[in-house]
Amino acid sequence: MRRHENNVAITADRPVGTGQPTLVLVGNPNVGKSVLFSRLTGKYVTVSNYPGTTVEIARGNADIEGESVVVLDTPGVNELAPRTEDARVTCDVLRDYPEATIVQVADAKNLRRALLLTLQLAELRRPQVLVLNMMDELRKSGGRVDTRKLSELLGIPVVPTIATAGMGIQLLRKSLESAAAPRVPVDAASGRGYEQTTKYLAEANKILAQVYAHVRPQRPTFAQRLGSWAMHPIKGLGILALVLYFTFWFVGLLGAGTAVDFLEHVVFGRYVSPWAIRVADAVLPFPHTNHTEVSQYKFQIPLTPTRGIVIAESQRTVLAPTYSIAPGATLGGWTQTRRLAHDFLVGQYGVVTMAISYALAIVLPIVTTFFLVFSLLEDSGYLPRLAIMVNRVFRWMGLNGKAVLPMILGLGCDTMATMTTRILETRKERVITTLLLSLSIPCSAQLGVLLAMIASISFRAALFWLVLNIAIMIGIGWLAAKLMGGDGSDFILELPPMRRPQLSNVFIKTFARLEWYLKEVVPLFILGTAILFVLDKLAVLDKIARLGEPLVTGWLGLPRETASAFLIGFLRRDYGAVYLLDAATGPKAILTPHQVLVSMVTITLFMPCIATLFMISRELGRKTAMWITLFIFPFAFLVGGLVNHIGRLFGL
């Protein structure tokens, strides 16, 4: 989208590349650009109360005074120097759209820093509008801004808004016409840096003195006090423990327990799968007798992983996806084809009976509950405070507290988390975080399965798994930080005020993430099952399992059958875990508790899924992705084997 010399005349008053008037939203982090963007365009982008959540440019169309206008949302910046990835993206957008009108969004409470950016933007000599957002919070904190005077001083329209409530948007649409280049003294010669920042801030102070009045309220509000408790060395730990427990209860017990049980055993086990089997039998008939199994179901509200309040209990005999053919019966060519299609849909590795039911009954409830909690925390402004609490630990791994956001998001989906490592400042930090994400942060689908597996081993073994995993994470992080060149970054983190989360925002955000997740995940599940089905039909599964036998049976000490679980684990880590779960706790359990522990350790350390691998190579390049992969798989087997042998040695 570069300007060509010969068509300058044609595009003189039009932005390059689009042929349409363009607005670029620019502003400090966490001032409401994304909300304003969705207000203008009706399009949704993930909005949160965490500085630096917009990692990609959102693009949409807005109807402004009867004209269609392209709107671009940029990541938040504190200054116009391309020091971080985010700032680089914003600078690139400003350079690539030299004709665009700049809409600077500012936090009305924090005018000084907004003005610093206004003065830097003024150097570009472009039509500009200043939006003072969050006027409601300004009023609550006791401040007042004279917008008319400010508009006079800067020579550009100044529009007060409350974007979350949609107030002032109409006014903004109208004032875009009168957008003008600011009439302020600028000093582009001295270049971006400390000297210029000081000069501009002094200028900003001069302007502020004329337009800003502030009366500090006497008593801190409850939200402010909660905000300071959340980063208190002792109270903060208490709140952290509470948040962790609530997350564990909501996602691990309610989501992965109650909701999964209901969907898996009742909805799919009793209705969807038997119904699909019957339909398949009717459409694709061949002589066989279906097997049945007994489905037991307890509806309970969980208290701890092993205890809960049972509300209802039921037992029923249902159709199973397996069948037998009368001995001696021979099937003709057509019947064989029908049988194959039948198996592909509703067989043991069937699209409906395995892929869809795993994706919707096991993964969906866990991911949904996780994203709900995450959106809630994000909206409340708790996450940056969490970063403060864990900064010290993350320092050991060559990271700082800011890396906690991708890490927590990794508990939801490692692929998504890998993308958000962009908020980290240096490449070294991004590589380490990505490596640790793939290595030792289990994603929610996997976590649910792992929690269910934990139920079948002793408390001590479960604790061992947890401690080992954390030790590996810190140890590998420390080693990677020592071995890798490059810089870490300073821990300077802005704290947004704690806010009461807006429920509608939380739901929309959860929904947007789920939509993304389902679009990515369901096709992968179906693909995974199809590959499995083909391997099973060609009896390759057995062969590969036999090939991997020495590794799996000898080194890991697991039964031969689990080899295929690790094979699937290459495709999707959680999928492999589901498979292992069946072997561990299913009706035909073949694993001893010791073997369960070994397989849990190995499968946790595996690369999450093929999608994560694609994302890593997109973010860090193919070479780094290859190195990470080459490290992770042997390392997972190495640790799994060590656990097996050492465990046996001490007779645990």
């Binding site: 936090d107 610093l116 400390y194 801030l201 900064n391 300077i492």
Partner: protein, 145 residues
């Protein structure tokens, strides 16, 4: 746009810190790039630039500079929680860090309130609440108000 961090030099005579390409003789000196001397834009003192190999050695055996003692100022870390102060200067080892603090409004003359010390330092500048590590907080020199 260059992603490389600018190189900074300290003038051995007056202690002024400046970006390497800012050297006063770089613009218009006939010797141009053949000249190995750099000139401090503040006091015009000319001195030889540090060669790459020495720079590497310095990085290997690097010892943090002891904080510059100033009679009129104390590091932020010595304030009590809740105490209010005026920023005197940023005594940062890396100039880029100085600017990344400045964009939050931390410039000489601004009013800084220390809100807490543990697990990280939290300061309030205007309406901005900022969390800092101890290593950064002790580079901020303030005067009690």
């Amino acid at each position: 746009m260059s992603t490389k961090r600018a190189e900074y030099l300290d003038c051995p005579l007056c202690g002024f810190e400046f970006e390497k390409h800012d050297t006063a003789c770089a613009h218009g000196c006939p010797l141009g790039r053949f000249c190995k001397l750099v000139c401090c834009p503040n006091c015009q003192y000319e001195f030889p630039d540090r060669p790459e190999s020495i720079g590497l050695l310095q990085r290997l055996f690097h010892r943090p500079k002891p904080p510059v003692a100033r009679p009129d100022a104390i590091p932020l870390t010595e304030l009590d929680e809740g105490e209010s102060s005026e920023l005197v200067c940023l005594n940062c080892e890396h100039p880029h860090r100085r600017n990344s603090l400045a964009v939050y409004g931390l410039v000489p003359g601004s009013r800084v309130v220390l809100q807490q010390k543990r697990p990280a330092y939290v300061v309030r500048v205007g309406e901005t609440e900022l969390a800092l590590e101890a290593a950064i907080a002790c580079e901020i020199l303030v005067r009690r108000v």
